[in-house]
Symmetry: C2
Subunit: 226 residues, 2 copies
DNA sequence: CGCTTCTTTGATCACTATCAAGCTAAGTGG
DNA sequence: CCACTTAGCTTGATAGTGATCAAAGAAGCG
């Protein structure tokens, strides 16, 4: 639908202001707004673009035949999602909350000389994604429910957290089931674990969707298996 | 040690014969032989090379401060290992059994025009690795011990299996603890699960290091949560 | 205000970890 | 060639963590 209008300029600086600036500069056709629940792509789709997240939260997941789901990661502002494997998307991607993305036309099979900048940036994004996936591996394979949840909240906080006095407010755009599917737990266990963290004074809840991290150091110790 | 002699030619065709051919063609300095247990690199090492596995089995792992280990993957013939993140290796790598590798000089920060071929191939390898890691995610997060072990044996069989009559022989170069650290289990559970698979007629053991997959379809059903 | 969806809490159960001991096989030295 | 040693594998008994089943609160939305 924006196959002919997508821009070839990539920008995913770490500065969110620059990012928004970039979004305004990019040709209108590159930009896309997603409603909550709307899919950006499905697993197996032919991939002609990579997507840069400007605002909102995306959910990247793989689903088994029997319905079991694994949320690989959440796409947050600044992320580049939809890296293709063999020209296809390797996971489905939908919006957890309203999102704005920029579509970048990308064909890994094309000669790299055509868009050396794009290729180099995608390569860098891919290598970083491998690192992030490896981090998550440790969490998934070798940590308790409590450690998993603590590590997840710290990660999310480092990405989308806002200062709140001396503490850090983290908005959870995704629900408990999403978190559970990300951490290899059940929603009940996620809920219970958050309650536990609250009772031990490490965090506070402000509605079910917002956590305030009261003791980041304590959380960190917990997350790393202290 | 081979910093100045490593070749810049990348080859990781899917054909093992071509691979060996390539190994012979490559300058002598590129090739490296590892004894069992010898490290190729450690986590955090400056990464000037990527390594192509010619023969043997490598173990790529990350270790936490408390000693808990996660084996990210096993490097098998045809694999390209040691993709750097920010110029550093993101995991440690040592030889499970004697190995032969080719070192390819690679600097992701250098202008891609210098070695367009190398960059494109590394990008492709990185994207494929992401796919493989995602596959493993489902296994790690959402599967039972039995499903994990079955999936692992099938994967290994597809990579290093040899025909044995109508069946498939798979040599397990790694020990039970390695498998456990790969699947997020304990060695005891891996052992028990293999026993279980044997008792249900899906596979046979020929010594502890060799499994014969008697019923691949049954295994596949199990692995996918049938 | 009632419906729906999500979250929390409770009770129970199953799976896998843990601790412990025996077993097997390969390697070593007398 | 055969005890002896050692490392890894298997098996057993028990316990703990998280899953499952179930139901009661909250919160959003018509």
């Amino acid at each position: 639908m924006f196959a002919n209008t997508a821009c070839n300029v990539l920008s995913f600086q770490s500065c969110p202001v620059l990012k928004r600036e970039r979004a305004r500069e990019a040709p209108e056709g590159c930009r896309r707004h997603l409603r909550q629940g709307e899919h950006l792509f499905y697993e197996g789709d032919t991939a002609k673009h990579v997507f840069e997240v400007i605002s909102g939260t995306l959910r990247l997941a793989r689903v088994q035949r029997d319905g079991r789901r694994q949320v690989m990661t959440f796409g947050l502002p600044g992320d580049l999602v939809g890296l293709p494997v063999d020209g296809r998307h390797s996971a489905e991607c939908d919006a957890v909350e309203p999102c704005e993305v920029i579509a970048h036309r990308f064909d890994p099979l094309s000669p790299p000389e055509r868009w050396p900048d794009l290729n180099a940036r995608v390569l860098n994004a891919a290598l970083e994604e491998i690192h992030a996936l490896q981090d998550h591996f440790l969490t998934l394979g070798r940590r308790s429910a409590c450690e998993k949840v603590a590590a997840f909240l710290l990660w999310l906080g480092s990405r989308v957290g806002a200062r709140a006095g001396r503490h850090r407010r983290v908005h959870l755009a995704m629900n408990r089931a999403d978190i559970a599917d990300h951490l290899g737990l059940t929603p009940e266990t996620v809920s219970r674990t958050i309650t536990q963290l609250r009772e031990s004074g490490l965090l506070a809840l402000d509605g079910a969707q917002t956590v305030v991290i009261l003791d980041p150091d304590g959380m960190r110790v917990l997350a790393e298996g202290g």
